[in-house]
Structure formats: structure tokens, C-alpha cells
Symmetry: C2
Subunit: 134 residues, 2 copies
DNA sequence: CCTGGACATGAGAATCATTATCAGGTGGCC
DNA sequence: GGCCACCTGATAATGATTCTCATGTCCAGG
């Protein structure tokens, strides 16, 4: 009999590299791409292989520690996040990001979906603008 | 004095290739990727170069004839669309798509942005679910 | 502590969508 | 018909991400 959860979360093992990636994202408050993180760590004298950065980021996203989000030009960017469901308000000039909750939107999305006979609903919502420091 | 609109829309010229791409998207009701369109046209005996498909799609998006949307796995998919601002409710099983309007969400997004001092706001919102034919 | 083996790393190759190049082709206005 | 700006398509280039595989290293159990 299988008593494992449907999606097993593989055990993670600590390592200098993962710690470095994690620490970098703790210091940083805006979204960062894998390439950026890789370059920054290399520069700060904590070299980590690019593939390793990608693996660390993937793992953290799976574990719900990070939000991932695709930019227009096809890069995926990451940012530490709170645990509850939320959306982002991002300044397109400086990257400053505010996490916002939108219970009404959640309700609306579910309702509209139901109205059209859709179930098992997820949604994406991001807001971009220019913040008052610009 | 410059009387041109800020973003000039370059003149388009008709051609068998553009017509083919356009016609394909008229027949089709779900989102399609450039690669898919390219393969489908080739198969139906109206070969069009891949680069040309990309160019045609880009042009149509600029002209507001198409909606473009990035999938999780990094492909951009296109679909003919109405002219007014709207969002999509997409079945992740069959791709069936419903265009929905969300005036409340628009207002909400603008308000939240303003609250945090953000201006010049745009937003993205897509809903994915499973439709009742599954 | 010591060790085995599962897990992690990293350099480079591979993938894959998209974009750039550039030498010809062709709409459409005169 | 003729001009020429715009189009096309084969192919190369790009760039992010993933894969490969040989080697390193956590850490539970002894």
C-alpha cells in the first residue's frame, strides 16, 4: 500500500551553493533572474555553477519559498515570498515589488469560471506600473 | 510639426503567406503556437517559412488582431481576438477559450496601484481550468 | 568517527523557441 | 511596364534553460 503523498517532495540536502542562492534572495527584495544571481554570486566570490543555480531555484519554488514569474522577454525571475496566495505589483522602472492580496478577484475568477462550466481553476494576475520614486 | 501618432503602424502588404496565417487563425478557435501554425500550413500544402510565420504573427499582434500569451513552458501562443480589453478563461485539457471582461478587476488593479503610489498601470490576468466537456 | 551510497555539483553540450541575416522575390502605385 | 519598399525563406545566431556524466560531499547507521 502506498502511503506517500501524490507529489513527494524530495529531501533537500544542505550545501554551500544552495545556502548562497538562498541568502542572496534574502538580501535582495526585487525579482532576480537565474543569470543575475549566478553573476552576482560569482562576483561576490561565492562561485556557483549556473546549472546549480537553476536547480536550487527550482527546488525552492517547489517548496513554496519563492515566487517565479516570466518576464516579457522570456526570462524567469524569482523572489522570496510569503506563504499565502498573493499577487504582485511591480515597478517596471526599479523592480520594487509589493505583494497584494485580492480576495475579490479570487472569488470573481472562480465564479466566472463556474459560470462557463470550468472547474479546477487557477489564475495568474500581475500588475505592472511605475512607482512614485520615479 | 509632427502629426504622426507616437507609434507609427508600418504599412502591411498583402501576400499569400500572410493570408494563409491569417486564414488559419480564423478557422482555429484555440490558441496556437507559431511552430504549430507553421507545421499545419506546411501540411495543408501552403508552405510558409517559419520566420515568416513569426513575422506575420508579430504584425497581427501589433495591429491588435491577435492576443498573444506565454505558456508555462515558454511558448508564445496566439489567437484571434475581439478588439476591447479582455482576459481569457482557458481549458487546460482542450484549449477551449472564453473571452471574459472584468471591469471590477480593472478598477481594483488601478486602485491598488494608486494606493501604493504606482501609476501608468497595466496588468495581466488569465484563468485556467478544466471545462465541462472533460 | 567512518563509510556507503544517495544526493549534489559543475563544465560543457544539447535543446528549443525565437530573432537576425541577406540574397532574391513581389505587391502595388506611377 | 517599372521602381522600390517591403516580403520571403533558408540558415545561422542568440539566449535561456535543461541534460549529461564524471566527480564531490552530506549524513544516517553502524
Amino acid at each position: 500500500m502506498n502511503t506517500e503523498p501524490a507529489v513527494a517532495i524530495t529531501a533537500r540536502r544542505a550545501s554551500r551553493q544552495r545556502t548562497a542562492v538562498s541568502a542572496y534572495l534574502t538580501r535582495r527584495t526585487t525579482f532576480a533572474s537565474a543569470q543575475e544571481i549566478h553573476a552576482a554570486l560569482r562576483e561576490s566570490g561565492e562561485p556557483v555553477g549556473l546549472a546549480t543555480v537553476y536547480r536550487a531555484l527550482q527546488a525552492m519554488v517547489e517548496d513554496g519559498e519563492l515566487d517565479a514569474l516570466r518576464t516579457d522577454d522570456g526570462e524567469t525571475v524569482y523572489r522570496r515570498c510569503g506563504t499565502s496566495h498573493h499577487h504582485h505589483l511591480v515597478c517596471r522602472e526599479c523592480g520594487r515589488t509589493v505583494e497584494v492580496e485580492a480576495p475579490d478577484v479570487e472569488r470573481w475568477a472562480t465564479a466566472v469560471a463556474a459560470q462557463h462550466g470550468f472547474g479546477d481553476v487557477v489564475h495568474t494576475l500581475e500588475i505592472f506600473g511605475v512607482c512614485d520614486r520615479h
